[in-house]
């Protein structure tokens, strides 16, 4: 065995042993009264969020409001990932972009079955992703999930009709703009709260601006706004990641 493997094995055994050793001290699996499950924090979210935010999906409430600051950076992480990939791989020169235009015209020559299937699926997929986004308050879903699905619809176009085809619908600069707007929508919501005299991301004050009846509903609506922002960014970046990785940054050809 190579020395590196022995080192790795020893490291793994020691770490694993350490982690197994600590499991003895954990509360029983599924214990509703364990410190984590029965903490004041957890109970507060379960019992109070319906009063404080009127959102039935507790995960959405915690994600977009109580820990909204985290989620903003989560969006930033996605944004960074896309940008980082473009920075590492490059985003195509103008000559290559012209080539994209030309090859997009040859779209019709691609495989018919693929294209027709994609034509059928893409609208449904996009519609469903909008549903997932909008219904995040009531069911599993929200900006990330909706955004990923929307991004997937562009990826499907690229798979079926070639990357240039997808790029002619959502160009890289366009996607970057969309991603930036998404983060701006999220951060801007927080900034508006600050301009109205409250702390950053304190949505309740937005009832002055939003068609919301009161502070609670203002939070409810603001969460949707930030989820939409997240969806913008995720959609754009998912597509950028695919486009860059599948073409090694040249933005032509594709699978």
């Amino acid at each position: 065995m190579a020395p590196m493997k022995i080192v790795a094995l020893i490291t793994v055994i020691i770490t694993g042993g350490l982690l197994l050793y600590a499991t003895g001290d954990f509360p029983a699996w599924g214990d509703p009264l364990s410190p984590a499950n029965n903490s004041a924090l957890s109970r507060h979210y379960i019992e109070q969020s319906r009063v404080e935010t009127a959102v039935p999906n507790l995960v959405t409430a915690v994600l977009a409001d109580y820990r909204g600051y985290d989620t903003m950076f989560e969006t930033v992480v996605v944004f960074v990932a896309g940008l980082a990939i473009l920075a590492v791989l490059g985003q195509g020169t103008s000559r290559e972009r012209a080539a994209i235009q030309r090859s997009a015209e040859r779209y019709q020559e691609r495989d018919m079955i693929n294209i027709m299937t994609a034509r059928l699926i893409v609208p449904v997929l996009q519609l469903f992703s909008l549903y997932v986004l909008a219904h995040g308050h009531y069911s599993p879903g929200g900006g990330f999930q909706g955004g990923v699905m929307f991004g997937a619809s562009f990826i499907l176009i690229a798979l079926a009709g070639g990357l240039p085809e997808a790029l002619s619908r959502l160009s890289i600069p366009g996607a970057l703009l969309l991603a930036g707007l998404g983060v701006l929508l999220y951060g801007g919501t927080g900034l508006v709260c600050m301009m109205l005299g409250q702390n950053f991301l304190d949505y309740h004050i937005l009832h002055r601006l939003l068609p919301a009846t009161d502070a609670v509903m203002a939070r409810y609506h603001a969460m949707l706004i930030v989820e939409i922002g997240v969806a913008f960014t995720v959609t754009a970046i998912m597509f950028i990641i695919y486009a860059a990785l599948s073409s090694r940054g040249r933005m032509t050809g594709g699978l």
Binding site: A40, G68, N199
Partner: protein
């Protein structure tokens, strides 16, 4: 508006990045002014926060995001907490980042001309991540921000040369291991305490028996996580190549700040989350960790001695300096901790200054080898003045801040009776002396006379006075660097001396944070 300073520190770079993302790809000329403006505002907000902290009677400023506040003394949303330590770090990070932007304008345009908007966006977000790490009081938020700064860091390194890409990959692997261990450690704390707010974790942990295995392993995981990320020997493997081959501007930002911020996390975890009693007394690992740091210092110094590439040499010095700070923090007395924190500040400035100098030298001579320094004093006097000050500080000579940080660390080491640490510290100072005087000597004398013999005539004096050198290469290639590079470097060089002269003020601020360590000593 005043009470919004803490969040503004973070928002300025964030919105700066968004603005560039929207405008910068169409108008690349706007990237630089936006970045400078964002960093300047962030820096101003950091200073404002610092003032707030000083003015506040408790010495801490709490900023509550999402406006939920505390219910039954539990923080239900993420909050910011600024005490003297984090305020100092914020001022440090924002001012270093601000100066580095100005410094790196020319280099960015030279090194990555096609990726200017990418560079500035990633740069701003990296700074936002580092500042966020410093200011947040939420353990999980800390993880997210660590990942932001890591991701941006990977990319900023990878846009460099061919070698930079492969070192960036190593950094990704090691960084992910480090961050994941940290995340796992936070999970262990969460499973035992049910909260993520660092102050709350601390108060809940008081009730948990000291011999809890999960807490112990959680602490270990967090420590190993940050040690990987700070390149604590022998977990340092990723650092030298990553920083040495990164673009100049990236190296000058990441080398001084990233490892220091990780050390900050370690100190924050030790002081504010686990508490000194737990870390120093219950666990009883101080001897082991101080010994490890001794090894780190000695090993880092040895590696530094054997390098002929300037930036490699500096990166190994960073490895040794990490040992200083880890050791200082684990000496289990307030002097050592003061020294570690003070060294955190001074080492960041020293490393920054040296990386700026190396960046200037490499950009002017095109040679990253030590020999690039030959006879540079004549050709680039201002740069060399900055270099000399930073080098003196690295060696630890008064009145630069390097001397005082060593003073506190040595004092802590002697008080704790850790003489091997004291010895290692002195050894490393001597190694630094050898390393830097070799360079200073080269810069001042080598190559000044190509033929080895001194020139003893009035002509020579005349030449020197008019700035020309009779037997040097043509001057154009070595003309002094632009002021946008020299200015920031000189500011930092002056800062090194100022930080040294006013060290008692700084340590007084630090004293607010390490005061609870003195209680511990009293108990002993």
């Amino acid at each position: 508006m005043v009470e919004q300073f803490p969040i503004l520190i973070e928002l300025c770079p964030l919105f700066g990045a968004i603005l560039i993302a929207i405008l910068g790809f169409r108008m690349p000329k706007l990237c630089y002014p936006i970045t400078v403006l964002a960093m300047a505002l962030s820096c101003a907000a950091a200073i404002g926060t610092f003032m707030m902290m000083l003015a506040s009677p408790s010495g801490t400023v709490i900023y509550d995001l999402s406006g939920w506040g505390r219910v039954n003394d539990t923080a239900i949303s993420i909050e910011y907490r600024v005490d003297a330590l984090s305020a100092l770090m914020l001022v440090l990070i924002s001012s270093v980042a601000f100066l580095n932007v100005i410094y790196s304008k020319v280099r960015v345009a030279q090194e990555t001309p096609s990726k200017i908007p990418h560079f500035y966006i990633l740069y701003l977000l990296l700074v936002a991540g580092l500042e966020g790490i410093t200011i947040t009081n939420d353990a999980f938020n800390l993880y997210v921000l660590v990942e932001i700064s890591s991701l941006t860091g990977y990319a900023l390194i990878a846009i460099g040369s061919k070698r930079a890409v492969i070192s960036s990959f190593n950094y990704v692997i090691m960084g992910t291991i480090g961050a994941s261990f940290f995340l796992l450690g936070v999970g262990y704390l969460y499973i035992k305490t049910g909260t993520l707010n660092m102050s709350d974790i601390r108060s809940i942990m008081e009730a948990i028996p000291d011999d809890s295995k999960a807490i112990k392993v959680g602490f270990m995981l967090i420590m190993i996580g940050v040690w990987v990320k700070m390149a604590f020997f022998p977990l340092h493997g990723w650092l030298p190549n990553a920083y040495a081959y990164a673009p100049t501007a990236t190296g000058a930002l990441m080398a001084p700040l990233v490892t220091k911020v990780m050390i900050y996390i370690m100190i924050r975890m030790m002081l504010s989350v686990f508490g000194p009693e737990y870390v120093y007394e219950t666990l009883g690992w101080t001897d082991v960790v101080v010994t490890l740091s001794t090894i780190a210092i000695v090993a880092g110094s040895f590696f530094a001695l054997s390098r002929s590439d300037l930036r490699k040499m500096l990166t190994y010095i960073i490895v040794a300096e990490v040992g200083y700070m880890v050791g200082g923090a684990w000496l289990a007395n307030s002097q050592g901790m003061t020294g570690a924190i003070y060294h955190l500040l001074s080492d960041a400035l020293m490393t920054f200054c040296l990386f700026m100098v190396v960046g200037i030298v490499v950009s002017r001579t095109g040679d990253p080898k030590l020999t690039a320094f030959q006879g540079l004093y004549r050709k680039m006097p201002i740069t060399m003045v900055g270099f000399t000050i930073a080098a003196l500080s690295m060696i630890g000579l008064p009145p630069t801040c390097g001397f005082f940080s060593k003073w506190y660390l040595l004092r802590g080491g002697i008080e704790a009776g850790q003489y091997h640490y004291v010895g290692a510290l002195l050894f490393s100072s001597l190694v630094n002396a050898v390393l830097f005087f070799r360079l200073i000597e080269m810069a001042y004398y080598h190559g000044a006379h190509a033929h080895g013999e001194p020139i003893r005539d009035e002509d020579h004096e005349q030449y020197r006075m008019h700035g020309a050198d009779p037997d040097s290469q043509p001057k154009e290639t070595l003309a002094n660097a632009p002021w946008s590079m020299l200015g920031p470097m000189l500011v930092v060089a002056i800062g090194l001396i100022a930080l040294g002269v006013f060290n008692s003020t700084v340590t007084e601020w630090i004293g607010q944070v390490v005061a609870n360590l003195n209680v511990l000593e009293g108990a002993n």
